[in-house]
């Protein structure tokens, strides 16, 4: 952020020229409003998250409707509550019993209904990384609002701790608590941008943990979290790098359903542009595409100026610092989607019901001259299949009798010598011939190719003087790629 807010006279250094980059403007508000109070004070804003509320005096006061998230419980896979946080008055853990009941009923954790109704509360939960995040609300609130927020919490944890697991959360319980305090005020989201949060609460690193234990210094930034005040909440002020770099990964995923005969039932391409921007100061970037017409439906990080996209089909933005998802897009469904591989499959079971035969061959279809890597074929077998004895010409296979999943890890696909997996399946004794079909899921990766043909044209930077290092990478992956049998 610009701090040199001087009334620039013609000969003063700095912004000497009449043209000025538009960003200057908006930071003034933020700056001026706290310049007057810029004492080297320590930050309490972050200290003091507020939570509580609600009707504490139940007998004398009518119960007042309180909005949004009331409490949060973290529950592990086996059903233990290992963290609870209340933003208003405390709600007993017993409220989770309704959830446990629903969890019992569901066969898979994914099948637990995300929204449950109990006599006095509503429970909204998400399941991520083998953990349940269960929030309690008391009154009407848009369910997606809560769900989206919970996902944001998970993403923040992942960002801070590298992963989001029970052990990590337990190890960093104080940081987690502080984060939750900052993210919600009275049940209403306050600061969810990870850049702002990081300004207030530093993420733990091994080095810092050691230093902290040795010296007893704090985990908090001692500077003022100015980002929260600015109108560009996603970018920290005063970012400095010695190497200025901006990397963009164009990652496309093919979602497809291919039917038994090999014809495509439906196929579409979903893409994201992941960015890693490490640039000093307040750069204003413009990213343009060779063929923006391809993009049918897009969603942007809040930093992208939508009007310019509408008018010129270029992405113009002041990037957040570090990693972020710049945009995600959907490629026009009218275009035919190239399916990079085919799988010839023949899975049959004998009428007698004693066993079956499996024969899978994978081959390249439309790969645009690139090599298919990381090819993995996963087959969900019918329940009756006990074991599989197969031979693979390439790669290795595993069959898990508990989950009935056959995984064949092929690796690089060699167009000259097609990989093949064949052999016999044995069924449970006495089980009838299974009627349900196994389904085949494919995972793959193609480097240096965006299957839709999308190409980044150029990246320009305004607002800063240095020359950044720029890089664009393309990857195509299989998303939900399924072959029916």
């Amino acid at each position: 952020m610009y701090c040199s807010c001087c009334f620039s006279l013609p000969n003063s250094s700095g912004f000497s020229v009449a043209t000025m980059n538009g960003q200057l403007k908006k930071c003034h508000i933020a700056i001026t409003s706290f310049i007057d109070s810029c004492s080297p004070f320590l930050i309490p804003s972050s200290l003091s998250p507020s939570l509580c509320d609600s009707s504490h005096n139940l007998d004398s006061l009518p119960i007042v409707a309180v909005e949004m998230i009331h409490s949060l419980f973290l529950i592990n896979h086996s059903g233990d509550i290992f963290l609870e946080k209340h933003w208003k008055s405390v709600i007993g853990r017993s409220v989770c019993d309704y959830f446990f009941e629903a969890k019992e009923k569901a066969a898979e954790p994914e099948d637990v209904p995300p929204v449950l109704q109990t006599p006095h509360h509503y429970l909204i939960s998400i399941y991520r990384d083998r953990l349940f995040f269960l929030s309690v609300i008391q009154t009407e609130a848009p369910p997606l609002f809560v769900i989206e927020f919970l996902h944001r919490v998970v993403e923040t944890f992942q960002d801070y701790f590298g992963e989001c697991s029970e052990t990590v959360i337990k190890d960093n319980v104080v940081t987690v608590y502080e984060l939750l305090e900052e993210m919600l005020d009275n049940g209403f989201p306050l600061a969810t941008e990870s850049n702002i949060l990081k300004e207030m609460i530093r993420p733990p690193t091994i080095l810092r943990t050691m230093v902290n234990t040795l010296t007893g210094t704090s985990n908090f930034e001692e500077r003022l979290p100015s980002g929260q005040l600015s109108t560009i909440p996603w970018r920290r002020s005063g970012v400095k790098y010695t190497n200025n770099e901006a990397y963009f990964d164009v990652i496309e995923e093919i979602d497809a359903i291919v039917d038994k005969s090999g014809t495509t039932v439906c196929a579409e391409i979903q893409g994201v542009i992941e960015a890693c921007v490490k640039l000093t100061g307040m750069p204003d970037l413009t990213l343009s595409f060779m063929n923006p017409r391809l993009l049918d439906d897009v969603s942007f990080h809040p930093c992208v100026r939508f009007k310019r996209w509408e008018a010129e089909r270029v992405l113009s933005f002041i990037p957040p610092d570090g990693n972020f998802t710049l945009m995600s897009y959907h490629v026009n469904a009218q275009n035919l989607v190239a399916i990079p591989v085919y799988v010839k499959q023949n899975i049959s079971f004998f009428e007698s019901g004693s066993g079956g035969r499996l024969d899978l061959t994978a081959g390249p279809k439309q790969t645009m001259g690139k090599t298919v890597e990381g090819l993995v074929i996963t087959v969900h077998m019918p329940k009756a299949v006990l074991s599989a004895s197969l031979t693979a010409t390439q790669g290795s296979y595993t069959y898990d009798p508990a989950t009935k999943v056959l995984v064949w890890d092929i690796g690089r696909l060699n167009p000259q010598k097609l990989p093949n997996l064949r052999g016999s399946l044995s069924l449970q004794a006495g089980a009838p011939k299974p009627e349900d079909n196994p389904s085949i899921n494919i995972a793959l990766k193609i480097q240096q190719l965006a299957i839709s043909g999308l190409k980044v044209n150029r990246l320009d930077m305004y607002g800063e003087k240095y020359k950044p290092f720029k890089g664009v990478k393309y990857v195509t992956k299989a998303g939900k790629f399924q072959v029916r049998t």
């Binding site: 013609p10 003063s12 000497s16 009518p62 995300p114 209403f188 939508f306």
Partner: protein
């Protein structure tokens, strides 16, 4: 450890305590020891103490009071962040005694100069309200004040407070409606959701239904005063209605209604699913039918998200598809089911597919269903079979195909599948039993194999109901059933009794004895329901001496024609709940749910939303497009009055655009600018209106500036004028980059900019060149001044390859040339933009202007004012800078 002098020990202790709180352990007995540390200097300790305090203050009210004074001190701190945080904790402590203190603090914070503190004040309002609802009136005053706030930071929070404290006071919104609409894009995501939901309700009370026609039809043609919007409705059936109504006043969408729709549309591109959903529901509830379609694409995109998001979105899509099927039809394939989806998602997708089924796409959908039936997930298969049943009932042509398919399923090995098919077939057969006696016969045979009680019961009921169609088989089935009666489930037993009774009435010769036998068995059954039924049936059908009046009607009673069941979507009629709401999801009214009001019959007075000027010409039919809506962060408070300005300009030319809030300083400045520029184009005037707002905003925070500079009469040359216009140019930079910088040819020279002659017509041999300082940022290099050059070819021949060559530049000066103009035909003119870095000097830049035939030496001399850039600072800063 808490009593220790060392911060590190205190910190360690507090960390342990917080970890215990997190695990849900009670640590309230430590309260006195912890609360002492509230004044601790170490911020981390302090922060953790706050966490503790907020958690336990409610239980230990007296002790909590000890900490209050610390916060009160914090409220007066010069640092806005400290003020905000003090208010945040203070308002979070649920202790009734401090309500007056909180009230005072909130009131003060609401007029704080820092938007962040004001935001915190807005957050504190609902907290205080829930602590003491009697403060409502006072709080509403504060809310009213904060609603008038023009910063995006505050907007979301205050609307949230509004929703919680006084959602019924819709009148508070009027004056702020347009501002909220315009600010919306720049509000943070969570605030957007709240505002959009609130505006949906608001719009329902203030505007007319854009789909009135349709409603008329639905309501059975009761005539209302307001007519139709023929341009927006595609339904042919309505034509007649239109004729009838055409004489009446046509529907015209209120421009404010349009404003809301237009300003929310970009948010469909948000990465936040909640925002997308909020906009989707807004469009669903408010937009004319023809426009609702835009939300489909965005909703389909959300289906790629986490399964919880999918769950909620699919629920809403299911409701939408019932009312607006066409909207999602193009995206049919997006709802195809993958075997890896969780069951609940599969079932919801199935629901959507079923709703989308129509004559045209039914064959594809059925083909899909066929694959689903082979799935491993049995619950899902059962749901698929039901879905097939529903498709069959709604679409007559495929009924037979479906029925045949289902009959084939009867030979499936899985019992659940068979049972479900039987149940569905039963329902389908009820619609036209005459044609399908063979299916009934086939099913009768199945009784030997099928063990699922529900399916057995269904078969028996079918045979009984249509025993006329299968006269030979029915008694035989009864015979078999009588044999196994004792081993059957209750539900089957009841149906056996029914079957027996029906057969007795139609075919008493063959079945009399059997019936007697069954009834006797039932008489001694363990279940009293069955005993009761048996007794009742016996009295009813078997003629005895005391033959009651009823038995005459036995046949009528038992063999009455039964209406076919209607297979309906469980999502029917859910749309009376606001979409996207919790209530809609659960299909029950959740606490605190605000009903979505019906459209009003007559539009309330739209003028309540006018902010200050009365005239406000209403654009009729179409509203002017202000395409320059802005890039997000540039928007900020300036756009507040935009619609008003543009309205007035579009319709009535320059008007008295003085802001009520702007005082003499700003209005004189804006006035002067206005007088300086005689005729304005719309772009120009928009800029002007911006500058007004700009001025006003500056005035808010930088009053000192106005005082220092003073209003000056000629904006072109003086610093103030330059300051105004180029700052607004900066504002517009992001918005209008296309037409101003990248394609300079489209620039129309603004009237207020002074042009200087670069090359006279005579010396230039017909080529006349003028330049002016466009006061636009020169994008390729921020240090350069944009110079706009206009070539006019007044000669008789065309001028070719116009370009610049650097001749003699002062040291340090740089020039960025404009792209060469290849041909300038006679009588035409062209405009280009070039950049010059004058190095802060007023020295002229000497250049060479070349044509295909000649070279001219020209020079561009910048006036001082054109070299300046606006910049803001506080009074102190300024003085400091001045002192240097």
């Amino acid at each position: 450890m808490l009593d220790s002098n060392k911060d590190s020990l205190k910190l360690e202790a507090m960390k342990r305590i917080v970890a215990m709180i997190a695990r849900g352990k009670n640590t309230s007995d430590l309260f006195p020891a912890v609360v002492k540390n509230v004044a601790c200097k170490n911020i981390e300790v302090k922060k953790l103490v706050y966490v503790y305090l907020v958690r336990y203050a409610e239980e230990q009210q007296d002790l909590a009071l000890l900490s209050i004074s610390t916060f009160q001190r914090g409220l007066k701190d010069p640092n806005q962040l400290i003020r905000a945080s003090a208010l945040r904790v203070l308002s979070s402590i649920r202790v009734t005694i401090i309500v007056p203190i909180m009230m005072l603090a909130i009131k003060e914070a609401a007029s704080d100069m820092s938007p962040y503190v004001r935001k915190t004040a807005a957050h504190a309002i609902p907290k205080l309200y829930s602590l003491d609802p009697e403060q409502k009136d006072q709080l509403i005053e504060v809310i009213e004040k904060l609603l008038a706030d023009k910063t995006t930071l505050v907007a979301g929070s205050v609307v949230m407070a509004f929703e919680e404290v006084c959602p019924e006071r819709i009148d508070l919104i009027h004056k702020n409606y347009r501002k909220l609409c315009n600010l919306l894009v720049d509000v943070e995501e969570w605030g957007q959701v709240v505002i959009i939901n609130m505006l949906t309700r608001y719009a329902r009370t203030q505007f007319l239904n854009p789909n009135l026609n349709e409603c008329l039809l639905e309501e059975g043609g009761e005539s209302t005063f307001y007519g139709s919007d023929a341009d927006q409705d595609e339904d042919e059936d309505e034509d007649k209605k239109d004729e009838a109504l055409s004489k009446r006043k046509p529907y015209v969408m209120d421009p404010d209604h349009r404003l809301l729709l237009r300003n929310t549309k970009p948010l469909l591109q948000s990465r936040n699913a909640a925002v997308v959903m909020a906009v989707a529901q807004l469009y669903f509830h408010l937009a004319p039918k023809a426009e609702v379609g835009v939300i489909a694409k965005a909703l389909v995109r959300l289906l790629r998200s986490h399964s919880e998001v999918q769950y909620v979105v699919l629920q809403n899509v299911a409701t939408m598809t019932i009312k607006r099927r066409g909207m999602f039809e193009p995206y049919l394939k997006s709802f195809y089911i993958r075997s890896t989806d969780p069951t609940q998602i599969k079932v919801l997708k199935l629901e959507v597919l079923t709703n989308l089924a129509s004559e045209t796409n039914i064959s594809t959908i059925l083909r899909e269903f066929q694959t689903y039936i082979k799935s491993m997930d049995k619950d899902f298969v059962a749901a698929t079979i039901q879905a097939i049943g529903r498709c069959a009932t709604h679409i007559g042509e495929v009924r037979d195909t479906c029925l045949n398919g289902l009959v084939q399923l009867l030979s499936n090995r899985d019992e659940l599948v068979v049972a479900e098919s039987v149940v569905v077939i039963k329902k389908l057969l009820q619609m036209q039993p005459e044609k399908h006696s063979d299916i009934i016969k086939h099913m009768a045979k199945l009784t030997d194999n099928i063990q699922v009680p529900m399916a057995r019961a269904s078969i028996l009921w079918l045979i009984g109901e249509y025993c006329e169609h299968v006269p030979k088989i029915a008694p035989d089935v009864l015979r078999k059933m009588a044999k196994t009666f004792t081993n059957e489930e209750d539900i089957v037993k009841l149906q056996i009794i029914n079957l027996a009774a029906k057969l007795y009435l139609t075919n008493s010769k063959q079945t009399k004895l059997l019936t007697q036998y069954v009834l006797n068995l039932a008489k001694y059954d363990q279940n009293y329901d069955i005993r009761d039924r048996a007794r009742f049936i016996r009295q009813l059908i078997v003629p005895t001496d005391k033959c009651g009046a009823l038995s005459k009607y036995a046949k009528k009673l038992i063999l009455a024609l039964k209406p076919a069941p209607i297979l309906e979507s469980p999502f029917k009629d859910r749309d009376h709940f606001q979409l996207g709401s919790l209530s809609h999801l659960l299909n029950t009214k959740a606490g605190g749910y605000q009903e979505l009001p019906d459209w009003p019959q007559d539009a309330p007075d739209p003028s309540v939303r006018n902010v200050e000027v009365k005239e406000s010409v209403r654009a009729v039919g179409t509203v002017p497009e202000w395409t320059k809506c802005s890039s997000r962060e540039k928007r900020k408070e300036k756009k507040v009055e935009k619609p008003f300005y543009s309205d007035s300009e579009g319709e009535s030319g320059p008007t008295e655009s003085a802001d009520s809030e702007s005082d003499s300083a700003s209005s004189s400045a804006s006035g002067s600018e206005q007088s300086g520029s005689g005729s304005e184009e719309s772009e120009e005037s928009e800029e002007r209106s911006d500058s007004d707002e700009e001025e006003e905003e500056e005035e808010e925070e930088y009053m000192s500036l106005d005082v220092l500079m003073g209003p000056t009469p000629s904006p072109q040359v003086t610093p103030v004028g330059n300051f105004l216009s180029s700052s607004l140019v900066t504002d517009l930079e992001g918005l209008s980059l296309t037409d101003t910088v990248l394609s300079p040819a489209t620039i129309s020279p603004s009237g207020s900019l002074k042009s200087y002659e670069l090359l006279h017509r005579i010396t230039g041999e017909g080529l006349w060149v003028e330049y002016c300082f466009s006061r636009q940022p020169f994008l390729p290099d921020p240090h350069m001044v944009a110079v706009q050059i206009q070539f006019t070819n007044s000669a008789a021949t065309e001028a070719k390859s116009l370009r610049l060559e650097e001749a003699k530049l002062q040291s340090g000066m740089r020039v960025k040339e404009f792209p060469e103009i290849e041909v300038l035909p006679a009588g035409e003119s062209a405009t280009v933009v070039m950049g010059v870095d004058f190095c802060d000097s007023t020295q002229a830049a000497n250049l060479q202007l070349c044509t295909h035939s000649r070279k001219f030496f020209v020079s561009i001399q910048p006036p001082v004012g054109e070299l300046m850039t606006p910049s803001f600072m506080t009074e102190n800063e300024f003085k400091k800078e001045q002192g240097k």
